[in-house]
Symmetry: C2
Subunit: 358 residues, 2 copies
């Protein structure tokens, strides 16, 4: 069937994809990824002290930006890029000129599948991004475009074409992505279950997007992939990817784009300190009780047909409805606008390409 | 954590569950299920010629109803029970007096998990039904109540209690549940992928519910588990379980109940004839293009707080909005009312118990 044409599609050439890595340390973890990632270009966003030197294993093709570079490139607009928080990674999304981004944390290693084979995470992300999503109706055999699968009986034929996939959200073996309270309560829990599936998050459903192992189509959703204001000088941390995920999901739903989750797995080596995490998270734990209903009830106007237009509308609603929670959201709403201005400045042709329906 | 208290919950005793099997043949397939199903009571609904004798392997505790029995018990209301179609199985749901139902097709055998161990499908269904569902927000590590899993970072704490699970939808290895066109195009496709997961179908999302390997809580959703008018004298077949699934999903969403899909697998032995299936399905293939938007846009009134009240409201909307598709839907809407009358007659205390919010 036509849909299986997608399964065998080759990964895009290296000139269509950048790998974005936020870091404060030497990138020794790349040694293990060499067979899979060395053909690609890396954008390294150095967090914290810019005078520190980051060692990148030899043979990798990369560009590196520290805080001084970000300030120089963005000028006053650099205020929208977080400092001392891995949220700074979104600067890499902005300076890339490629169609696809794969972003990975520097404590993520190559996972093995149940047969013991090393998982080529990037290849699976590319497969996910190259075949359509099916957000309008749930397929009980999961991604109908995977080899050996299809749409099941009762799946409307008019919905089988699917929609373009904007985001591929990969998972983690070993250390699960838990919040601080769950880390504290379950310090020994490890994720050992390899779930061999990919599925589309249905339209209208929010999910917690983790930035540890994530790929997306910059042309389709890039300008919404803003990781917010976290870390130094901000009252909150560890909600950067969550914020981006909620914004991206409502915009994808509005523009008719899809988000997949599941495979590929990476091996997450080390739990972050739950006490430090609790300090970063605790306001978010309160606030998300209001933020989630805000996103669940959000509607974007029909006239908003580009990601940028959607994002600006979203920023207005954040200002209007979330600022009463805390003045932080007023600042965040302003930063969202600054982010779009900076994006459009660095990506002058991006505005038209970013229309998911085009 | 408290949520894991559910994982180890024992299966309910045999006096809380009935197994419903629709059949036209001898039930030799039960031999393979003996270790798992013999402790439970079977309700066998014999389809087709009532003069034929169905052999049940010795040692099983069962009651058997043929068409004559159905006519005798329901009188003129027997018209709502399909004939010459496995949709007749819903009569078994109605005559049961137990809290839980597990229904299985007579060409479904015990599956093996990837380690080669026989899957106790019923035990997994019971686990699914005994722990809450999470339809309001997607958890990327799937069912947070499974052993070794939990809610991930960014999952709102106020939603972690979940909602009662009304339905557990199991899957099939070997012959996938494809429609006739897909069967014709992919005659050799087999499902060999064992996906080790259970997940909640999000609120607002429809799915194709297959009746082959299905369990549910009669007290919570029983009166909505009507398999419609199929087979003899009807213009359509093979949409019995789909119809029930769409009705159940909108009612579960309205009443705050959950539906899980995924594990357990059964081994589906034999593909039905795609030519025969095409004849049964082809009107459904057209009609579902209107039926799905109908269900997607359906709203039930706040005053409808029992399954029966929701179902009667639904029948009215079927009559009002789908009858223009075909006079069949007028007949179906009437049969939906008859079904509820018959249900309430056989389950006089059921009406109050059936409130998911009670």
């Amino acid at each position: 069937m036509a849909n299986n044409a997608f399964v065998a599609a080759p990964p895009p050439l290296k000139d269509e994809l950048d790998i974005v890595i936020p870091t404060i340390r030497n990138l020794d973890f790349l040694e293990m990824w060499r067979p899979f990632l060395q053909p690609y270009h890396l954008i390294i966003v150095q967090d914290g002290d810019p005078s520190k030197t980051i060692n990148v294993p030899s043979g990798f093709d990369y560009e590196l930006y520290n805080r001084n570079d970000i300030n120089k490139i963005l000028g006053p607009r650099a205020s929208c890029i977080s400092f001392k928080d891995s949220a700074c990674r979104c600067f890499g999304y902005m300076v890339s000129k490629k169609k696809y981004i794969f972003t990975i944390d520097d404590d993520c290693f190559v996972a093995n599948d149940p047969t013991g084979k090393a998982v080529n995470a990037l290849e699976q992300h590319i497969k996910n991004l190259l075949c359509p999503s099916t957000p309008m109706f749930f397929n009980t055999l999961y991604d109908p475009f995977r080899e050996g699968a299809d749409f099941v009986r009762g799946y409307p034929f008019s919905l089988r074409e699917g929609v373009p996939t904007a985001i591929s959200h990969g998972l983690w073996l070993n250390i699960p992505d838990y919040d601080a309270p769950t880390q504290l309560v379950k310090p020994l829990e490890r994720n050992t279950r390899y779930v061999d599936t990919v599925l589309t998050i249905p339209k209208g459903t929010l999910f917690p997007m983790c930035g540890m192992n994530l790929a997306f189509d910059r042309d389709l959703i890039g300008p919404a992939m803003y990781f917010g204001l976290m870390g130094d000088g901000q009252p909150i941390g560890r909600y950067d990817d969550m914020w981006a995920g909620w914004c991206c999901k409502v915009i994808c739903d509005h523009l008719g784009l899809g988000i997949k989750t599941g495979l590929p797995y990476i091996f997450h080596s080390k739990a972050s300190n739950p006490f430090v995490n609790l300090r970063k998270e605790y306001k978010g734990i309160f606030w998300q009780e209001d933020i989630i209903p805000f996103f669940q009830n959000l509607t974007l106007p029909k006239e908003a047909t580009t990601v940028q237009e959607c994002y600006i509308h979203l920023s207005k609603q954040v200002k209007e409805k979330l600022s009463k929670l805390d003045p932080y959201f007023d600042k965040l709403a302003n930063a969202m606008v600054t982010w779009i201005e900076a994006w459009d400045e660095l990506n002058p042709q991006g505005a038209s390409k970013a229309n998911g329906k085009a």
